[in-house]
């Protein structure tokens, strides 16, 4: 019996700038999983995800997305994946609907289908009053919502988000979290970096902690607690302990 491919399988992924940013990283994320990637600033989270998304070329290693070799067939991999960065990059002079029309066009989605999806997405994110308003006057939170809607409009099977909740108010953050959880329930895989450990604690099926370009811990919250030897400790305490231990070892 052959097992289903992982949503993401990274093997020996390496990237050096003036020092190793990602150091022979191995990472596996299962299909339909909500995976939170945590780590201190400069740990290599964003560099890892940018290589997975095809925005950075790795120095070594392999990236497989739902069985597709992302380095050999980047177009095939990108077709089923979406990337949202922490700094929402959208076009000021387009309206949210026009932005989503452009994204859907880039991904080759049938316009009859994408138009309905785009409207539903924007409405569900609370942007119904701004559908035909140019994005130039939008707040960072609104821009982040438009970027997120852009990531979802082509119905990707793997969504990679780098700090998606930065700049969002409580209500907007709840909208976004609800939307992501709904996608995961429908079989989509979500990989997210965040500094808000409470979000990872409450939403993620599994959590990976990365430091100095290496995965230093991984598992469900219960598994991480078990590894840490204390069942009542919070993710925040565990995270700080792990990172401190790693820093002391380095």
């Amino acid at each position: 019996m052959t097992s289903a491919p992982s949503a993401l399988a990274v093997r020996g992924l390496t990237k050096c700038f003036d020092r190793p940013a990602v150091d022979a990283l191995d990472l596996t994320v299962r299909v339909g999983e909500f995976y939170a990637l945590l780590g201190p600033n400069g740990a290599g989270k964003t560099t890892t995800l940018r290589m997975v998304a095809g925005l950075l070329k790795p120095d070594a290693g392999s990236v497989s997305i739902l069985g597709i070799d992302a380095l050999q067939d980047p177009v095939g991999a990108k077709q089923i994946m979406a990337w949202v960065s922490d700094e929402p990059m959208i076009y000021d002079k387009l309206t949210p609907l026009e932005y989503l029309e452009f994204v859907a066009g880039l991904w080759g989605v049938d316009p009859r289908q994408s138009e309905t999806t785009a409207r539903d997405l924007l409405v569900s994110l609370g942007l119904e009053q701004h559908l035909n308003e140019r994005c130039e006057g939008f707040s960072k939170g609104m821009r982040q919502k438009v970027a997120l809607a852009g990531a979802l409009v082509h119905d990707p099977r793997l969504i990679i988000l780098d700090e998606p909740l930065t700049g969002l108010d409580a209500l907007s953050a709840r909208h976004v979290k609800g939307l992501l959880q709904e996608r995961v329930r429908n079989g989509c895989t979500v990989i997210m970096t965040t500094h808000i450990l409470e979000v990872a604690e409450r939403m993620a099926d599994r959590i990976g902690v990365i430091a100095a370009g290496k995965l230093i811990a991984e598992g469900t919250l219960a598994e991480l607690r078990q590894q840490n030897g204390r069942n009542d400790t919070s993710l925040e305490d565990m995270f700080i302990a792990l990172v401190d231990t790693e820093a002391a070892a380095a």
Partner: protein, 506 residues
């Protein structure tokens, strides 16, 4: 800290900012301050050679002059003032829109009137400094060859710079009051460009209509102009007389400019604060798009549609690009005239059009290739980078074709051969400009368009020299075909050299 100490401290801060901004513009943001300063000094020294070639023969000029010489000299001074005014309007607009800095200043416990007086003074001194820098080689050459009386020219430049800043502030604040903050940026940019180029273009238009030539000197040195020129003692010639070494007049003009600037500071410094508050209170009006069904099409079509929509929606960027088209007005007029007489001067239209196409294509290529605001989105889209680049270059080619086709078609009625040569040259120069932008591409925000030249000096020079090279080749092809072959080969070699030293792309 006392009020005076506050002002001195703020003035120092302003000048440090102005210096760093200028340095960043000169070095493209790279931290090579010493090298940049040495480079600028060498460049300024080297400018003395062309200055010698241009003004060396006028060093012995003395007042009284014949009317034609007085007209040419006064027109040159007026043109310099127009250029300084254009620069000053640009600076004032920038000050209004530098929001992060303004928020800090407005929230600080200092007298805003005093702060804005310093800022107005800083604008005036920056503009004057730039005027002095560029005029120095010419005045140096004249003073060296014709005696120290020419040093009065520096005083005149100071007067021009201060008065240009005063007028720029008046114009900009007036625009704010008249059309509101949201439109002022665009209109001020257009006004600035029109003022900068308008005088020369106006002279060319008159020359085309009256004498059938593109030379603006034809108007200035004409008998008609000499006949209507006022007496040598007239106030009209004060500027020319000051530059020729009349120290009293020079001091009078500097004093008048200082008074003008003082009045403007007194009147507008308090209003500056109100104006800035009105900008803060009136963010860009939410422009609404028309609701319509999503369009079907291929992925490259989606990219092309996006590029055209963004160009159409950003009148500031469009106006910056299309400003070069102003220079096409005189040759277009000349073309229109050539239908009525068989003037051989029509050949001049070809190089002008080719140059304009090259410059416009360079700007558009930068906007589409490097100025991608959602670079991550396009990079993670499921289509090969080569398809993305191809779609973006197609946008440049289509835009150039739409703009230049009407003139080339009109030219075909006057001279079919020249139309063919012009069309080929426009295509070649567009391809060259796009290729250079491709080889030297560096991801940037579209809002950085104004500073695109600073990201790669080599690309800027290569683009300019290729435009000149292809324009010369096209003109020579119509007159001396064998020379066109040489010029074409030289331009190709220049292009090859640009490719060779460009950061290679996959």
């Amino acid at each position: 800290m006392s009020s005076a100490a506050h002002l001195t401290w703020f003035a120092r801060h302003e000048f440090r900012l102005a210096w760093r901004e200028w340095l960043a513009m000169m070095t493209g943001g790279r931290r090579r301050r010493n090298r940049a300063v040495i480079g600028i000094l060498i460049f300024a020294a080297a400018l003395h050679l062309p200055a010698y070639a241009v003004v060396g023969r006028f060093a012995d000029m003395q007042f009284p002059l014949d009317p034609s010489s007085l007209i040419v000299l006064s027109a040159t001074i007026f043109l310099s003032w127009a250029l300084l005014l254009s620069q000053a309007i640009e600076s004032v607009t920038r000050v209004f829109y530098a929001r992060a800095d303004l928020d800090l200043i407005m929230s600080s416990p200092v007298q805003l009137t005093s702060i804005f007086s310093v800022r107005i003074a800083a604008i005036a001194l920056t503009v004057t400094g730039m005027g002095l820098l560029f005029s120095a080689p010419f005045i140096d050459v004249l003073a060296y060859l014709g005696g120290p009386r020419w040093l009065a020219g520096f005083g005149l430049v100071v007067a021009l710079g201060l008065s240009a800043a005063a007028v720029a502030i008046t114009v900009t604040v007036w625009l704010f009051r008249l059309i509101g903050p949201s439109r002022t940026r665009l209109v001020a940019q257009i006004v600035s460009a029109i003022i900068g180029a308008g005088f020369v273009i106006a002279l060319q238009i008159v020359a085309v209509l009256s004498y059938g030539t593109l030379s603006r000197f034809a108007v200035l040195t004409s008998d008609t102009a000499a006949r209507i020129a006022p007496d040598p003692d007239s106030l009209v010639w004060w500027l020319a007389r000051a530059v020729l070494g009349n120290l009293n007049l020079m001091l009078l003009l500097v004093a008048a400019a200082l008074v003008l600037l003082g009045v403007v500071m007194a009147v507008f410094a308090p209003r500056f604060a109100d104006t800035v508050v009105s900008v803060a209170a009136n963010p860009a009006v939410a422009a609404r798009g028309r609701a319509r069904a999503f369009r079907a099409g291929s992925r490259p079509q989606a990219l092309r549609w996006k590029e055209f929509l963004l160009l159409r929606r950003d009148p500031w960027l469009l106006s910056q690009s299309l400003m070069q088209m102003l220079y096409l007005v005189p040759p277009a007029l000349m073309l229109w005239r050539s239908f009525s007489d068989s003037s051989t001067a029509i050949v001049l239209i070809t190089p002008v059009m080719v140059m304009a196409a090259g410059q416009l294509a360079g700007g558009l290529a930068w906007l589409t290739i490097s100025g991608e605001d959602a670079a991550d989105l396009v990079a993670t889209a499921p289509l090969p980078p080569s398809r993305v680049i191809r779609a973006k270059i197609e946008v440049v080619l289509i835009a150039i074709a739409v703009i230049f086709a009407p003139m080339i078609i009109a030219l075909a009625f006057a001279s079919p051969l020249q139309a063919v040569v012009t069309a080929v040259a426009v295509m070649v120069v567009t391809a060259s400009a796009a290729a250079i932008q491709l080889w030297f591409r560096a991801q940037a925000r579209r809002s950085q368009f104004r500073r695109r030249q600073t990201s790669s000096r080599i690309a800027t020079f290569a683009e300019a020299f290729c435009s000149i090279g292809w324009a010369a080749t096209a003109a020579l092809a119509l007159i001396i075909p064998i020379a066109a072959a040489v010029s074409g080969i030289l331009t190709l070699m220049l292009l090859a050299a640009a490719w060779k030293i460009s950061p290679r792309r996959d």
